[in-house]
Symmetry: C2
Subunit: 466 residues, 2 copies
């Protein structure tokens, strides 16, 4: 062990000691807790930090970060642990800050349709809280993720095609900076031209610039009418072309989700979906007034007909609709449940809608040609889809073959003007692709990182190579 | 003159010499041209730079910035010169880069509804270019501003209530950084979680971090049906309350603009509007399908009735509609034309919609009580409104009284959770308020500025005090 590593050990012991004084039993070095916090829901091997702490306030987070900063000890923010790109691993050790005990809804302003929550509030919790207000928060990744984690990864989900992503739906943040200051970004006005957009700097920064402790969210009125529908297609190509035409026709659809035949097979089994076949399928949802929804649905039905879609199966009541969408949200779990001895790796490219058919079909051919039988599922209205590889992390050959195939998927998407990640973030898994996608601009990202976190203590080893 | 200033003079002479070699007659030190470039459409006294140059390409901009960087000479980007906050003044001298000869539309992708333009393309030019494609770009500040300038100031306008601001509608940028590198930010995918949001860092950065040379824009399909309407109200309070209820009812209105009675009087005269009285007035626009527009209009009409609004005056044909909206866009010019010996100063606060009536009414009382007779006009659906003061910049007492009143307007808006500027930006005029609004976060803005522009050559003396 080098001298530097010993100093590091000393520093960590000192920080842990001071944190024990500050937090009492809300810090632990138990291996079980550390291992649980050392991985997300992905294929990365757990890399535990040195201790996990559970603050109750922004002020406590600031104290924790100040201590870590003073000793140059890494800080790893943690929400629900549902990251898919190794965001919560601790390759350089350090202190994990689990924000899940900061789970209060702080204010709700029905008259302005916004609310402020602590970072540990989950998306379902927000909507449960809002249940009787006539409002909802639309951003819905598959997992019941924390709002802080969703902001940190610029998450989206099935509603993004209509309501946007966390980028569009965060009005402001409370952030603890890398030196332990507490700042508030943004504001409650619907728009502002007052200064640099610090909110958007932290949204999607993956814990590498600071710790998000509170999030001010934009809310929406629950539509007068919501109707869901399912339509099954003869082929993947016809399903995707149906999506492209729907988007190009300008239908303000709320959700349009693709499940290929293998994904349908797995979701039918996992989520007990009744009345569907294992065929390429689109799940739709329409939001609007009574007349507006009818108008949208009519147009989409005509497009579906043109591509050989089956008759729409309408899900009329709320419970049935919720079951359908829970099944869609559980697609990742349905996929990984099919091969319980393996771990999942979900690709996440996103391309301009005009290139979506070409991209998905080439990807399908590529995976099949490479000997994989992977389900495909996606937020296709945004041009975003996931290929779910299953792998044994100890099988080097399998890992290599999956990574090679994934690299081709990413390169194909970037060549089409797309991105390596639509919503999962870069984390550890996509660091190699950031330069491919952004070229020289990555150097400016490094400049930003170095300025905001000069000692590189904020979630180091993620996103940008320093 | 201090030694430093002499060195500065030498540096500028050297840069101008080198730029003459690079650009030939596309650089000038003519006082007339410099003075024209030394002010916007505001009340600030012109502060000319030392020379104005007219590049034709991003590469030329990069060469200009490299030369300036090498000699630590300030760079002031310039578009149509319609800034309202002194953005184009050159308090530290330097080189103005007029981008208006970079005015090509570079690509249009109808199938993905996006396009890429050079920074000097104006908003009307984009829409003229798109005329036969069935698409349009909605962001519309009063002036026919350049897209580069609009991105730099995070501009919005009458359509923002439905379509958002430049923040939501810029997909990516080409930027020349403070050291003369050319970087591309963002991409053509509808969403991405790949790295820090550099696009949003430069949108609204007011030329203080780099020069925007190309902008990738999101486009929209021209709605099947567009209908405009005008409704006049007995009082300002009733007009504003009608707006608040319309927004809270969730009507997806495309435009809802307020003109108070004085503004109406001036617009009737300036824009030859026929059939209207000098009363508090709302201009509306509805976008959607035939049925959707009818549904929206019906609901809004009922709300207007409740607040004593006159019967809607519909403008059915395109020409009449364009005339109405041109009148709205010309409101600032109508206002300043009424007092030709004075200059205009437009306030620009924006508050949460629930506080709008309170804010506007208190503001009206304040201006009247302070002896001013100012028109009020605004993008009220967003909570954003402008009070147009007219002043003689040489009348110190008048300037002081206007500034005092403006300070109270800003403080009132910030106390209500609002912002000092909804769309005009900070520039020189609102630097004093940035700290009031953002507190400690301004220090982080400084960190960003210092990191991206360590020599403080990019539009120095604007936005953030270094």
């Amino acid at each position: 062990m080098t001298e530097q590593a010993v100093v590091q050990d000393d520093a960590i012991s000192e920080v842990i000691g001071a944190l024990e004084e500050l937090l009492g039993d809300r810090i632990t070095t138990s291996m079980a807790v550390r291992e649980h916090h050392g991985r997300g829901e992905d294929y990365f091997k757990p890399v535990p930090s040195d201790a996990v702490c559970f603050p109750h306030s922004t002020e406590e987070v600031a104290e924790i970060v100040k201590l870590c900063a003073a000793h140059k000890v890494p800080v790893i923010p943690f929400g629900t642990g549902t990251s898919l790109e190794g965001h919560v691993t601790a390759p350089h050790g350090g202190i994990t800050i689990d924000l899940m005990q900061m789970n209060n809804v702080l204010e709700v302003h029905p008259e302005d349709m916004d609310c402020r929550v602590q970072a540990g509030v989950t998306r379902k919790q927000v909507n449960e809280y809002l249940r009787d207000t006539g409002m909802f928060f639309p951003i819905d990744p598959g997992a019941d993720a924390s709002i802080g984690g969703m902001a940190a990864t610029r998450a989206s989900g099935t509603n993004a095609v209509r309501y946007g992503t966390m980028k569009e739906n965060v009005l402001g943040l409370t952030v603890v900076t890398a030196d332990g200051r507490i700042i508030k970004t943004g504001g409650r006005a619907k728009k502002s031209a007052a200064g640099y957009d610090l909110t958007r700097i932290f949204v999607g920064s993956e814990g590498t610039l600071g710790v998000i402790t509170e999030v001010h969210l934009k809310l929406y009125g629950i539509p007068e009418k919501i109707a869901s529908a399912v339509c099954q297609y003869p082929s993947l190509e016809e399903a995707v072309n149906s999506v492209i035409l729907t988007i190009q026709a300008g239908v303000p659809i709320a959700r349009i989700e693709l499940l290929d035949s293998l994904m349908m097979e797995r979701s039918i089994a996992y989520s007990d979906l009744k009345g569907y076949e294992a065929k390429p399928t689109l799940f739709y949802e329409f939001h609007g007034t009574e007349a507006g929804v009818e108008e949208q649905a009519q147009l989409v039905r005509e497009i579906a007909d043109d591509f050989g879609g089956s008759a729409f199966q309408w899900t009329v009541d709320t419970e049935e609709r919720n079951h359908l969408w829970q099944a869609r949200h559980d697609a990742y779990y349905a996929g990984i449940a099919a091969e319980p001895t393996k771990l999942g790796m979900s690709t996440d490219v996103c391309v301009p809608i005009s290139r979506l058919a070409e991209c998905i079909l080439a990807t399908e051919q590529d995976t099949k040609g490479s000997g994989f039988d992977c389900p495909i599922v996606g937020h296709v209205g945004d041009g975003n889809f996931h290929v779910l590889f299953m792998l044994d992390p100890d099988d080097e050959d399998e890992v290599r073959r999956v990574k090679d195939c994934n690299r081709r998927i990413v390169e194909r998407a970037i060549a089409m003007g797309g991105t390596c990640t639509g919503e999962h973030g870069v984390g550890v898994g996509k660091m190699d692709y950031l330069e491919d996608e952004h070229g020289e601009a990555v150097e400016l990202m490094r400049t930003l990182k170095r300025a905001f976190d000069p000692e590189n203590i904020m979630n180091p080893g993620k996103m940008v190579r320093i």
